[in-house]
């Protein structure tokens, strides 16, 4: 179990799930004017496919992680 940072769009769609804060990525998103928010969660609560997080199944809405 480890803490992950979930970078998501305001509508809840997830852009990235990273172990630790990804400052370079935050800088990139700001530079490209891609709106995003950050949510912290435990990785074992998130669906995976092989080694990858199943990003399309994860949403962050109202400050809560939803898995579909």
């Amino acid at each position: 179990m480890a803490l992950v940072y979930i970078y998501h769009r305001p509508d809840g769609a997830v852009l990235a799930v990273t172990y630790g804060r990804a400052e370079d990525y935050e800088e990139y998103l700001r530079a490209e004017r891609i709106p995003f928010k950050v949510h912290k969660a435990q990785d074992d609560a998130l669906p995976k496919r092989g080694d990858a997080f199943a990003l399309e199944r994860i949403f962050v809405r109202g400050g809560k992680v939803e898995v579909v």
Binding site: Y19, A22, Y25
Partner: protein, 326 residues
């Protein structure tokens, strides 16, 4: 302007690494553009990776639009195809790079392959529609890369791709067409640059070939030009002369060419490494370079610096014009 319809003709799902993907283009309609929409997930394990310049466009290693089985109307890497659309439309199409941090991140790129020429004035843009009724075959061949074309793994780490998908959409013109002009855009030169001084490129064909311009892309930092980072220190000046000795450009500083590209196309900013030697600055075709009676056209680049793994790529833009009485 006639009505233009848009429809998806194919989805390439989870393509095998480093393999060509062939998409037949339906015949019978008049094509205005083909749009590729690349989506996927990059997973970085163990140590942080370095996301490549213009990522994930490098994953689209080569995009060929072949007419009649052999004529390449487009033969471009994904990065150049994206920038052609960026420059001509005055704004960058959608691009979201992945993160290099350990974990998973999504990426997205939309690459419009404009068959018409949207920057040209008035009806000229439409003079480059492709009426496929005159073809017996049209095929899009996309050579996809691998995860290393999106990000370079850190020491002891690894990168992998999942959920990769490429939607292929076409824009078709309703009830309009004919035997029209064509703009051929091909990556003609990929030259490794190893030292400073003057680099003479192999001559471009003369004897009647017309040139609207030459897109130049200089990169460094990777043994594969597709994975290099745009670098404005490599080229210091550009010279273009014909076989009779006339110089169309004479030691023109790279920064001047870049500035011209920026204001000719009304861009907010110009990505590093790109410059367009453009003859049709007024967005008409009255001032293109005609080579009737000339043996060839030669480009020489003065190399100001040659960092490790430097590359110069040149893409001639060749209009094949069809006049009203042709």
């Amino acid at each position: 302007m006639p009505l233009v319809t848009r429809r998806k003709i194919a989805t390439i799902s989870a393509p095998a690494d480093n393999t060509p993907q062939r998409v037949p283009i339906p015949l019978g309609a008049t094509l205005q553009a083909i749009i590729l929409r690349l989506t996927g997930t990059l997973t970085v394990a163990t140590t942080a990776a370095t996301v490549l310049d213009e990522s994930p466009l490098g994953y689209l290693k080569q995009i060929d639009l072949l007419l009649g089985g052999s004529f390449p109307l487009r033969s471009l890497d994904g990065r150049a195809a994206y920038r052609r659309a960026h420059f001509q439309q005055g704004t960058a199409p959608r691009l979201t790079a992945p993160s290099g941090a350990v974990g998973s991140s999504s990426f997205l790129a939309e690459v419009p392959i404009n068959i018409y020429q949207p920057d040209l004035l008035s009806a000229l843009a439409r003079a480059f529609w492709l009426d496929t009724r005159f073809l017996n075959r049209a095929e899009l061949v996309i050579n996809v890369g691998a995860a290393q074309d999106v990000a370079t793994p850190g020491g002891g780490g690894s990168v992998s791709l999942s959920n990769v998908s490429i939607d292929v959409l076409v824009q078709e013109v309703v009830d309009a067409g004919g035997l029209l002009s064509r703009m051929q855009e091909v990556r003609a030169v990929v030259r490794s640059v190893s030292s400073t001084g003057v680099l003479d490129l192999d001559p471009f064909a003369g004897a009647g070939v017309a040139y609207r311009g030459f897109l130049i892309h200089a990169v460094s930092g990777n043994a594969d030009a597709n994975r290099g980072t745009g670098d404005d220190t490599i080229i210091s000046t550009v010279t273009l002369r014909d076989s009779r000795g006339r110089r169309y450009l004479d030691e023109v500083p790279w920064e001047v060419i870049r500035a011209e590209t920026k204001y000719t196309y009304g861009l907010e900013s110009l990505p590093s490494g790109y410059g367009l030697v453009d003859f049709a600055k007024a967005h008409t075709l009255e001032d293109i370079l005609q080579t009737r009676g000339l043996q060839n056209v030669q480009m020489s680049l003065r190399i100001g610096s040659a960092p490790s793994n430097s590359w110069v790529q040149v893409y001639p833009l060749v209009p094949i014009l069809r006049t009203a009485n042709a």
